[in-house]
């Protein structure tokens, strides 16, 4: 079943897009991440122009996270105060991201920067996750209790001025820390088409020291709003949001996410995290190799 994408200006197989969305959806349901970090590179491998891939993937992440936000809200797993600060920073981040996008595009370096960012981010976060999950897998194998992570915020965060109380997160820290975190994730969302859950969750746990019960819900809350802002920003600046592409991705991913969420209930969390770490590292390695290998196309064309 072929379908013409009016913004990407090419025809793709709708089934491939739905399956791609579905596969990413299963993973995102299992791990509670938006899955943009997989969607964007996969779309680019499939031949979608990078800007359209990033823009449409962020639209798709909005849809993929909405039901998660509702589920966590019901359980009281969203710190709205923290979420609002993150979103506020995130919206400025998307605006900054749009400016960076424009500059890099005019220099012709957007693709390289996107690739390098992916390699650095996925490589480091995948590495950290793999290390952490291996430790807990070993601990549970040996029958010892998993060493409890120290729940403390980073000294850098503690030193910031003007503290607020975040009751649900159980924190008394400066709002500047989540503001900056939101800002950085906003830039990532704009450039990479990722929701940023895989940066946000570890940052909330290990940098801010938030209580684990509100981390995923608050992260999803921030992702929901920042990807909405990023879709708007892409519509206004790069004009690269392909609504047809986003809808087909969504059909796959929302279905996949529900399946993934059910699968996740049957798996041990430490294995789940190890599995996610391996996927993240594989994507990072593939992208790193892509930078070093001679590309299929030496030349690229840009209309003036």
């Amino acid at each position: 079943m072929d379908i013409y994408l009016p913004i990407a200006n090419l025809s793709v197989n709708a089934l491939v897009i739905i399956l791609l969305g579905g596969g990413v959806g299963v993973l995102s349901g299992m791990f509670g991440v938006g899955g943009g970090f997989l969607t964007t590179p996969l779309l680019i491998f499939y031949g979608i122009p990078p800007a359209v891939a990033a823009a449409s993937a962020s639209t798709q992440v909005t849809g993929a996270s909405v039901s998660g936000v509702f589920a966590h809200m019901k359980r009281g797993g969203v710190d709205f105060q923290m979420g609002a600060v993150l979103v506020f920073g995130g919206i400025f981040g998307t605006a900054a991201g749009a400016a960076i996008f424009e500059i890099l595009e005019s220099l012709g370096q957007i693709d390289t920067v996107i690739n390098i960012l992916y390699v650095v981010m996925l490589g480091s976060i995948g590495g950290l996750m793999a290390k952490e999950s291996l430790t807990s897998v070993r601990a549970s194998r040996a029958g010892k209790p998993v060493p409890a992570a120290k729940r403390r915020h980073h000294p850098l965060v503690a030193n910031l001025p003007m503290r607020w109380r975040f009751y649900r997160s159980g924190l008394y820290i400066s709002p500047l820390a989540p503001l900056i975190l939101g800002f950085i994730t906003g830039i990532m969302t704009m450039l990479l088409g990722v929701g940023g859950g895989f940066i946000m969750v570890p940052a909330m746990l290990y940098l801010l020291g938030m209580g684990a019960q509100v981390v995923v819900g608050t992260s999803l809350f921030q992702i929901l709003f920042v990807t909405m802002a990023s879709t708007m920003m892409h519509s206004l600046t790069t004009k690269a949001v392909d609504i047809v592409l986003a809808v087909f991705l969504l059909i796959g991913s929302v279905t996949g996410a529900q399946i993934g969420a059910r699968l996740a209930q049957r798996m041990r969390p430490e294995y789940l995290r190890l599995f996610l770490a391996i996927i993240v590292l594989l994507v990072a390695i593939r992208m790193a190799l892509g930078l070093g290998w001679r590309p299929d196309e030496i030349y690229t064309l840009q209309a003036l």
Binding site: P6, Q60, T62, V241, G292, L304
Partner: protein, 254 residues
Amino acid sequence: MIRLIALFLFLLPVAAGAQNVPKLVPDVSQREINIQSGFTGAEMLLFGAIIYPRGVAPEGQVDVAVVLRGPTRPVTLREKQKIAGIWINADSTDFRSVPAYYAIASSRSLREIVDSKTAAIYELGLERLQLSPSGEVDAAEQKRFVDGLVDLNRRNGLFRQEAGTVEITDQVLYRARLNIPSSVPVGTYTAETLLIRDGRVIVADDNVQVRIRKTGFEQLVTIMAQDYALFYGAMAVLVSLLLGWFAGYIFQRL
């Protein structure tokens, strides 16, 4: 009266000349290509008749070349080079007039039917396109970029050159098929037919135009995205929210 005769005498050679030149009656299978949701590319049939003076086909072989050409536009071509172990865009050249699409088919290979000067005048063949590269002084470097541009477009299916695909029947009727990929840019295309004999272009006709455009929903989406960006973005967000929420609702009931 004298004036009239003088005018007649003056026009006579022109008319006689025109009489000796065959006339082309070209047409295409579609004057309009509409891009809709199922569009996977198109096949265009370019066909027509050659009307010879006094209705007699000349001795010897005639050849026909057909060209379908999209609107030209300026582009920047970037070249990746390996720098510090990674491939990045390192060099670039601007071209002032690159056709969005260019396909040529001929009854025999272009080298056999026209000399290089004629090919250059009529822009016959991918290596004869007038792309107007700017900025590069070094001829070798310029050629590298031109070759890169042509090669890129050829592999994307936007530049094509096929020899031996124009069928000529009884020296009078000709037909050729050209493939158009789904990634074809919209715009007004020109179909050109050239009648070639003894290495020279005897007559050329480029009066047939083909309009390629998006229609219906695809057109609507494109116009929305371009001109009503705010509304389009809001729609995209809304559709995404609704689909996500709806799926969550359905699966809760299952």
